[in-house]
Each structure stands twice: as C-alpha cells, then as structure tokens.
Symmetry: C2
Subunit: 420 residues, 2 copies
Amino acid sequence: MKKNNGVEILCIGTELLLGDILNTNARWLAKELAAIGLSHYKQTVVGDNCLRIQEAVLQASKRSRVLITTGGLGPTPDDLTTEAISKAFKAPLLERSQIWKEIEEKTSSSTFASPISNRKQALFPLDANIIPNPSGTAPGMIWLPNEDFIIMTFPGVPSELKEMWTQTGLKWLRQNEGTKEALFSRILKVTGIPESLLSEQINDILKTSNPTVAPYANLGEVKLRITAKASSIEQAKNLISPVEEELRKRTGLKCYGADDENLTSVVLDLLRKKQETLAVAESCTGGGIGYTLCSLPGASEVFLGGVIAYSNAIKQKLLGVPSEVIKKHGAVSAEVVKAMARGARKSLGSDWAIAISGLAGPSGGTNTKPVGLVHIAIDGPQGCTTHQERFGYRKGRIEIQQLSVMCGLNQLRLRLLARS
Amino acid sequence: MKKNNGVEILCIGTELLLGDILNTNARWLAKELAAIGLSHYKQTVVGDNCLRIQEAVLQASKRSRVLITTGGLGPTPDDLTTEAISKAFKAPLLERSQIWKEIEEKTSSSTFASPISNRKQALFPLDANIIPNPSGTAPGMIWLPNEDFIIMTFPGVPSELKEMWTQTGLKWLRQNEGTKEALFSRILKVTGIPESLLSEQINDILKTSNPTVAPYANLGEVKLRITAKASSIEQAKNLISPVEEELRKRTGLKCYGADDENLTSVVLDLLRKKQETLAVAESCTGGGIGYTLCSLPGASEVFLGGVIAYSNAIKQKLLGVPSEVIKKHGAVSAEVVKAMARGARKSLGSDWAIAISGLAGPSGGTNTKPVGLVHIAIDGPQGCTTHQERFGYRKGRIEIQQLSVMCGLNQLRLRLLARS
C-alpha cells in the first residue's frame, strides 16, 4: 500500500492488552483529529515490549505521515517508548539538562531527593522538540526522524495527554499539517425515538454527500452528525445550516440540543431561564436523577434536592404517599408517582418535581408489571402529568436505571417547553 | 520479527477512527484471552475500507497464529470484513443456503420480505466453520486460510460478540489452542492509600516472578493483580495463596475485597449479614451514594433511601440540621454532616446513616475550605463519627463526587467491621 498523508495512533501499555483498562485515549485523540479534519486510518496497541514498539513505529513510518503515541513515558523499567523510537531510527538519546532540572524540581521534597529512575525522562533525540508536561514528570516530543515522518509522544495518563495535546500538540499540527480543506461537524441530539425509526424518517437526508449525515445510537438517544467539507469553516457552516434546519423540522421536540449540550444541561438551562426550582422523588433510580443534575457546575442555582424513597415506608413518611394508594395500585403505578411528585414539590417547596418508580430488575417482574416498566410524574405550576415506559427486561438493571433518568429529565423538558 | 503463537485483535469500523464510540470490544476480548492464558501482543483498528482491512489481515497472518476480528459483518455496503479476508487469501465466497434460510427467517415479516442486502451475510469461504449468531443476522466464522493461521470473525455489536464468543469461539480456542500451562489471576482491591505509597510498602513482593504482582490505580482504589503460571489451575492457586496472605497482612483493613467485589457490594453484604438498614443524607454528591447502592440487585433488602439535601433549606427542613449550626460552621463542616447523619437516621428509621457535604467545585472554594474538601459522617448504633478528606481542586467536579461516594461507603465499611 502506498504511503498516505494521514495520522496513526499507537497506544503502548501491557495493561491495555490484558484488558485491565479501556483505551479511552485512542478515542479521545481520534475525535480531536476528526475535529481538525486530519485523516486517521489506523490505531494500534502494543505492550511494554521494546522490539514490538520498534516494529510498530517502523511500519507506521512506511504507511503514514504522522504517528501519535501514548504511554510508556514514565520512569519505570517497563516505560520504553522513547528508547524504542530511538532504536527504530538508530538515533542516540541525549540528556536535556533543563528538562532534568524541571523533573528534579517536581519530584524532590524536603525529605527525599528525586529518584534516579526519573532521570531517563530527560532523554531525547538531539533534534526533537519537547512537549512540556505541566502536571506530570513525563514530557513528550515532536520528532521528525526523516523528512516525511513525524512522531509525537504523549504519556498514557489521560489528563496529562489532554493538557499536553491542547497546549502544544494540537497547535503544532494545526500550523504544520493543517488541511487546506475545512471540515466542520455539528451533532444534533434526538431522544424518544429508536434509531431505526428515525433513520427511516430521514432516509433521503442520510444519502446526501456534502454535508454527510450519520446517525449514532447511544443510550436513550440518537446523535446525528452533520459534516461538511468546504474551503473555509464559514462555508462549511453554510452547507450545514439548511440540512440542520430540515432535520430539526422533522424531529421536532424530539431534538433536544446540539454539540456539547446534554439532556441535563438543557433542563438546567431551561429552569435557570425561568428562575424556577426543582426537586426529585426517586425510587428505582435511587438518587440517579439528583446525581446527574449535580454533576454539572451551578446545578445548585435551581436544584434544591429531593427524597430517595427506595422503601415504601419512606414514600409514605417523607413524601406523604397514602398507604392505601400503594396498597391499591402498587408502588410502580401512575397513582404512586403522582403522589410522590406532589409530595416532593410540597415538602421541598420547589416549582417543579420529578418522581420516578419502576422495576429495574432482574427479579420482581410480573406479567402485568414486567421488569423494565417505569412510571414518571412531573408536578409543576400547571398540575401533575404522568408518563409510562417499558424498556424491556432484556436491558439489564443499570441500563434501565440510566434510561429512566434520561426519560425523567426529558419529560420535565417537554413540560418546561410546553409552558414557554 | 518472527511469527509468534499469540492472538491479535483487529477491530473494524470507521466509527472507531472518528472517535464516535469507545472500543469496549477490544478490552473485553483482551480480558477473555488473559483469562484463558493465551498470549495477546497486538490490537489494531482500521476503518470500513477493503484494502486496509486486507493489509491488516495479511500482516497479522505473518505475525501471529490467531486473528480475532470484530465489526464489518452487517448487511450494508460498508460492511466489508468477510470480503476483504477472502480477497487477502484469494479464496472465493460461496453462499450457504442453510445460513441464508436462517437469516430470511430472522428478517422477514408478514408485510415485508427479507432485504436482499442481508444475502451477503450468508457468504463464506468454502471450508470455513460458522459461528452461529443467536441474536442477530450476522454469523461469524472460524477459518484457516493456511495451516498456521486462524481467523475468527465476530460482529461489532457487543452483546452479539459476547454471546457468540462464549457459546462458540471460546470453546473452540480452548479445545484447539489451549495452553498446556494454566494461568490464574486474583485481584485484591485496596482503598484509602495512594498507589505510590502502597507500591513502596510492597516493593519486595512486586519483584517476584511467579506469581507476578502488578498494581493498577483506579479512581480511589488500587488493584493488585496476582498472576501465577503452573501445570494446573489448582497449582497456580497454591502459588497465589501465600502471596495473597502476605499482601492482605500488609494492607490490613485497607484491602476491602477481591475479584468481582466492589466497595458497594462489600458494604451491602456486611449490612445483609447483620440484617441492618442504611439511609443516606447527601449534599455535594446529590444522590450518588444512593444511586451507586441501587445499581446492585437486592439493595432494597438493606437500603431504605435518603434525603438529597443540596440546598441548606432542605438540610434544615428534612434533616433537622439547626440553622445556627450551618451559620456557625458552614454547610461543609463536621458539625453539619453529624447533624445530617443523625437527622437521616432518625427520620428514615435506619440502623445506619451516611452523610456527606463537600465542595465539588469548580468555584466556591476558599483558603480554609478549598475545592475538594469533603466531610463525611457515619451515624450508627455506637454513635456518630466524622471523617474529612481533601481531594484537591485539580481533580475536577465529577471525580471529586465519585471519590466522595467511595469514601463515604468505605467509612461505613470500617465502622461495620469495627463492630463485628
């Protein structure tokens, strides 16, 4: 195969080959490359083995223009990336005194001197450019062992990789390897419709070539990625605009946001705009809605808190659900979630309340109330509404809980929009 | 490099190269291979491109004995795995009438005939063995294009891959490629000590060669993987036993469990054994402890529920924290979490209560109360104890919340153990 102009990713670490950790670095870098329009044709994972790293680096140099490596830059004997690269291109490693000074400052303390093992982290080929590591002791490098091949090395620690990529690697690539064509993507997020049904409804649009539209199903939502190529970002955006408009028209209220937005951020924004507050009453999700809301900074402006009413006694005691309602309809019923939502709104003094009760399984299902059945109530200024979902027993407990959280947030979103 | 006896994994899918999805299949397969003691030296990812798949397959055939592929078995034009493999080894594809019949049964309905596009999923090399797909339309194959190379193909859908691997692929490999040496691993889980400090304390054990001991740091815990090689699983276990004992002795109560146990399951088990119940009072974690507990089946036997007291008003109203205590000490203080834990235990009528209040950031920190400061209280039969952690502002909001959840569960665990 002839050499291409693209970028390869090589992740180094025996823990990846043992399956001890997920390769989140490869995915993160792949997204970054897609965002700046660089072609990316291959990812490889090898262990902490000098010969195999050498072989992988040399093969990449014959195939692609840029190789990005992660991992193997630490101070221990199984960190071999720089050594293997230098051996692959028969280039000696030299100690950079300034780098060693910086590592010494980072690793020494009043009681201990810097470990001698860190010293190898200051070794680089003579003409390599350093990628500084503000948070850790492992700097990376940008090195051209020959004129048509570029190697960029990063540590395996995700936070250090991201910082070094953003501050140094990305800038260098943009300046030196940027494509003449601009690529721009926008992602629309749709919930409350399965991928297959949505695909049928927008089948004609999925066939367009510039921009392209590709659906990706996620837990409880479908992402529609619209990507355009043009001579400038501005022109790419102009190509995307009418397609986005048409997709939004066809999906209606099911399209809840775009790009970095998620259901939680959209719901919090809507509440913030109205200066209204929210409480939750959670049974089968056990606190999952509250936890999801609090994962975003500033949630405290609108989210007051709630009651985790996992046992029926708590539903009665803290939310005032009458015991006869539970007896008559069962804990998983429209009547009970209604009473839970009203109780939470009253007891916490919020403008809105989400209540949720369902069967997350794996046991406890019956013919009329199977595992996966979830009831949701939204109580607010215009009264209390209920909603029912059947996610199916095949989904598994954690997925049913996550889908329930999303569904609860989405029902509140629809109520908030209906009022505006 | 000379050919090895190991297994490679090749994941096929442009969505992986675009960073749209995480490669969970590679990790899952890697774990499976490690569990049966098969060597695994390399993972590769390529897109839906026939030439690149061919190249990757041929290179693997020169390097390794077994290649496992995932993805590219679907009915659409970008599903190219079987075609590329057949081209790589110049073997024609033939339709298997029985397979096509099965696919027809799966895809046809009363209104529609089977899509013709599915027909290509019945094409295989003449001498390939089929890996049946009980849930989907894409069967895989086990094929030996030449005598020292084995290809096994699986779909990219994780649930189908797992089912087909377990029912067919794994069994075949065990029978045909099983190692004579047995490999056995045990993972000890340690919390409340940083990886570097733990490594120093067990430095001598980390140097042993059979069994080997390798530490892996995770969020808030360190896993110690002990792996032994022997002529039988029983003998491998015998090698592990004294090392495990020594590690448990050195880590003491910090070692909370092994293998599939996690902090949540351990805490629920301890409560179940004592037949005691638990309530939570959560501020900065917003329901995270409750959500974590409820993720495990059977949590309802001991977990009653709790109060998400995100706002100070809720801390007073639902947990009875006196307003003067909040005024005097601030919401993030030992005094307030004490009152929260006592309030939750009383109000929910549980044997135990965990209360948590902290600064998850990114804003709101001060010199005396920086972001990352978290107070935890455990109220129980022998009174109320408090604990304080400083996770550091660098950790980020979500990580601080997750560490807080783990720390709260661990504090309860220590109290439960102290009493037994």
